[in-house]
Subunit: 254 residues, 2 copies
């Protein structure tokens, strides 16, 4: 309860303060990256003496005061530092890992990263399957999108985004906790909402490519402990299915 | 059960057939619109004798054969017509109406329309509030997006999309069924997932602008029977909150 209240107070208090991403927060002074400096000084036109937040993406939130508003290397002095627990930051009591086959049109996956981060996700792994339409992902771009969504939604943990991995590797070393694989053949599976183990705290959901998993892939998933689930009667795009996994768990687990 | 099975069979059988939108399906011949003709003949290069589906967006699905593959006015002969119930088409047992303040960047609302249609929504109304950032919406574009999402997700009902309406009007004539208003002040509200009436079959969810509703607006909503709900501790963008409403109900009501 303490956790939830603190989160609620935080979101209300902090919702009008500017947040910047700073992977390592060192005392007493910080120099922002060129990009963040530009945003701080040129875009937001913040002045010396103005206060901002620095988030390290790992639960640390610092209040800092601008001491030199240089447009390329803005210098800040740390005023105070607070460390949030993952549960405090997200308001969630579970860890969620989505494994997704990236779509041909990368914008769709990028949209998923933004939305999933806003709603709450801890880890994303890109997977390579037989019917995959893409075997290359721009990780820097994915990270940027996650950072901006983290800041925008006022959370202090950045989801871990993993490089492309083959489904075979994942099946050989399956994650712990509850594992689900979204399968388009709705008549052969139960609804996700009925299958979700609400007592579990670690969830992994596998989302296939537009062309779905092959029967061999599905069988291999089942053998390594993934539970096949249906996301309903309508046909969802890959990124929509992935986000449904995120939002359905949030709705069902709270 | 019969309904669900039929939906499951349909989605499997029809998932590889081309679907075209044809608001009024007349026997025995149909001439596609210029846009749909172009898509059919130029893009998909379909020939005379090829079969396609025609959906009227109101549950009617016709199988038709191309008799004249004219690139601007393609002519088809209706082979058979089937009428689906709303529940068969959507696999849902409820009616969902989302009322949303359109975002400054229209792409975000358009994205919501696409995703909500895929997952399942019956009606969308754009609302004008005190903090609204937009008071004009391109309805033709919204309709196009809904049509394409309806076809892509293999559903035969098109959501009804209503013109911009002031929140005052809505409050004066509130919809029937369960009414919820998403309120950013998480500490003053209960979680949506705990407040949802799972026995209800008609749902309306009000989603405010980025700047949230004013206190007066919220009070007026409460007086006209809307239940204030929280979508969790993290701050969601307007279109993310609206989609969470759609996906959370789908997860909780099945």
């Amino acid at each position: 309860m303490f956790v939830k209240n603190r989160v609620k107070i935080r979101t209300r208090l902090y919702s009008h303060m500017h947040v910047f991403y700073q992977p390592d927060i060192t005392l007493p002074f910080i120099t922002l990256s060129e990009e963040e400096s530009k945003h701080c000084v040129r875009v937001l036109r913040l002045q010396n003496g103005d206060k901002i937040f620095l988030a390290d993406g790992n639960g640390k939130l610092a209040t800092a005061q601008i001491t030199d508003n240089h447009p390329k290397k803005c210098v800040l002095q740390i005023v105070s530092v607070e460390q949030f627990l993952r549960e405090e930051s997200s308001g969630r009591q579970y860890y969620l890992h989505i494994m997704i086959a990236p779509t041909k049109n990368m914008e769709r996956v990028e949209w998923f990263i933004e939305k999933a981060t806003e709603v709450g996700i801890d880890e994303i792994t890109f997977i390579e399957t037989e019917n995959s339409e893409r075997n290359k992902v721009n990780m820097d771009r994915c990270l940027k999108i996650a950072i901006s969504a983290m800041k925008q939604s006022k959370q202090w943990y950045l989801p871990k985004i993993n490089e492309l991995k083959s489904l075979k590797e994942i099946i050989q070393q399956p994650p712990t906790g509850a594992k689900y694989v979204a399968w388009c053949q709705a008549d052969k599976t139960q609804l996700f909402s009925n299958m979700l183990d609400k007592q579990e705290k670690y969830f992994t959901v596998l989302i296939g490519p537009e062309g779905d998993f092959t029967t061999q892939e599905i069988n291999a998933c089942l053998q390594s402990g993934f539970v096949p689930v249906s996301f309903g009667a309508t046909i969802l795009r890959t990124e929509t299915a992935a986000l449904y996994g995120v939002m359905a768990i949030k709705a069902l687990h709270s």
